[in-house]
Amino acid sequence: MKREHEIEKQYSLFVNRKGRFIWIAGVVALILAVTGLALGPSSISFRDLLALFSDSRDALHHGIIFQIRLPRVLAGILSGMALSVSGVVMQSVLRNPLGSPFTLGISNAAAFGAAFAIIIFGAGSMYSSSSDAVMIANPYVVTASAFVWSLGACFLILLVAKRRGATPENMILTGIIASSLFTALTTGLQYVADDVELATIVFWTFGDLSKGGWNELLLQVVIVVPVMVYFYRNRWNYNALDAGDETARSLGVNIGRLRLTGMVVASLATAAVVSFYGIIAFVGLVVPHMVRRITGGDERFLIPGAALAGAAFMTGCDIVARTLLSPVVLPVGILTSLIGAPLFVLLLIKGKGGSQWR
């Protein structure tokens, strides 16, 4: 039995290293979150941050933190988690390393939903303030419409899966169809839109964490937290799925149900981000692959690791977005693509002959 114990010990050391990464990612996310609270057009020292929880708090700082920065940082954490883990799950259930929340056309559907509300429901009247800020007159209608149309993309997937089976090929093809369809519809709406409506649609598509407040955050918590629990619960089943459909089935996994539920739940989590904050690209693609470099393909570590790394990535990008051209605050969606795209290229180049995925 000595040899068996030795192997178990070696394996424990091996997986403990992956466990350590999760802790590190968590600590980095926490540090970035606190930094995110402190940094911005108006810098607040860490001492002043601590003072907010005492009697000697500064009313202005209190307002900045609790009305602007804290909801924004929390939105970044939740959105990063939702998009990254959705990416991990979609790559697994689609058996495609390019799977991401955008593969299924969810973001395009949300963008169409926003355009639809702006033009059809007249939620697009905007005004230019003294600082030339663009405002959407009725953000709740826009968000609700974006969310409903995101779910519409989910139902399209469900429909195809029900008629033709939830195979990776069917899912990817449905995603391409949904993307093209909603892009065409959005373009059609933009064509008939007036200048103000057109500008509002474009403004909405910028992924920006400042669009939400506490109410949006609460709704996001209600969706994203159960989604995370569901994915964490199924992480071992996703490992089986990575080994192939026939193998997973013979290991007792109901692959059709797992694939379909995974897609719908991941789409829901994505919809909960893009409907509130607009299109935030690359997070769902680049973070899973970054984390996979460290944890390997084991979903037991990949899912919590990607959740925390995604939170850190999004929070970090938002800090850069707020400080790069301060006092101008850039939409975080620009930063995630600007940072994510070269990172992804780096991951591809550094790949050992493509052996990281097949």
């Binding site: 192997i7 394996y11 071992w236 490992n239 990575d242 026939e246 193998t247 089935r249 013979s250 393909g297």
Partner: protein, 252 residues
């Protein structure tokens, strides 16, 4: 153990399995033989529940295969597909640990890791336990997949062409291992092309032709005429030191 009663299956109206009945006894090592397209793989898939018969009955341990839940069936029966690859890198230990899936609720525990370690040592895979499965040779990979099937602690093991991509040494090693498992009481069923390998290691045989079962039983079923009719190749059957060899002569 596992029985087939008048099983029929067709793909798009094309009959692939036609009225096949057979009983696989506990501890038997059965080879399913037949030329390409004879229905070997389909029959294996009907037995492991990947396909459902259009008529007839597949029973596992006296119960209809369709009445088992996926996890419940996986505790009784393990399956090693012909070809498989991991989408993302996975270690040998993790691959074998995956075999514990039918017993795992949230995540594998201490017992699952212990069983995995024991199987790795038993199959001589302990030295490569932390290697990436995608970087192993074909023979090693096949051994790992059999180890994963063993981790399911099944009463039955089905393997689809387990020697298809292996060299001579690994072909013999794999079948030798399967014979040992069968001798230990496990029912092992393989679909295989090489008649001589099957004759050397298996204890019972089914020969399919065009989806029909044309012969079943022990080594005595192998006749030159039967092989010629099924494979369309003239053969000579030679017996040496109680071992039967089939020597192909020429296509008919």
């Amino acid at each position: 153990m596992i029985s087939l009663t008048s099983v029929h299956f067709a793909y798009n109206g094309l009959k692939v399995i036609n009225d096949v009945s057979h009983v696989f006894e506990k501890g038997s090592f059965t080879a399913i033989l037949g030329p390409n397209g004879s229905g070997k793989t389909t029959l294996i898939r009907l037995m492991n529940g990947l396909l459902k018969p259009q008529s007839g009955l597949v029973e596992v341990m006296g119960r209809r295969a369709g009445d088992y839940g996926a996890r419940e069936l996986a505790q009784q029966m393990a399956y090693v597909p012909q070809s498989q690859y991991n989408l993302f890198p996975a270690t040998v230990f993790d691959t074998v640990l995956l075999g514990r899936n039918p017993y795992v609720s949230w995540s594998p525990g201490r017992d699952d890791r212990r069983i995995t370690s024991e199987i790795l040592v038993r199959l001589g895979l302990d030295d490569i336990a932390l290697k990436d499965i995608n970087k192993l040779s074909g023979g090693q990979r096949q051994r790992v997949f059999i180890a994963r099937a063993l981790a399911q602690q099944p009463a039955l093991m089905l393997l689809d062409e387990p020697t298809a991509s292996l060299d001579l040494k690994h072909q013999h090693e794999t079948l030798h291992l399967l014979r040992e498992l069968s001798a230990g009481g496990m029912t092992v069923i393989v679909s295989i092309h090489d008649l001589n390998l099957a004759l050397k290691y298996c204890t019972s045989f089914m020969i399919l032709d065009g989806g029909r079962l044309v012969a079943e039983g022990g080594r005595e079923i192998f006749k030159e005429k039967l092989i010629e009719d099924v494979y369309k190749v003239r053969v000579k059957i030679i017996t040496e030191e109680e071992q039967i060899f089939i020597l192909p002569v020429e296509p008919v």
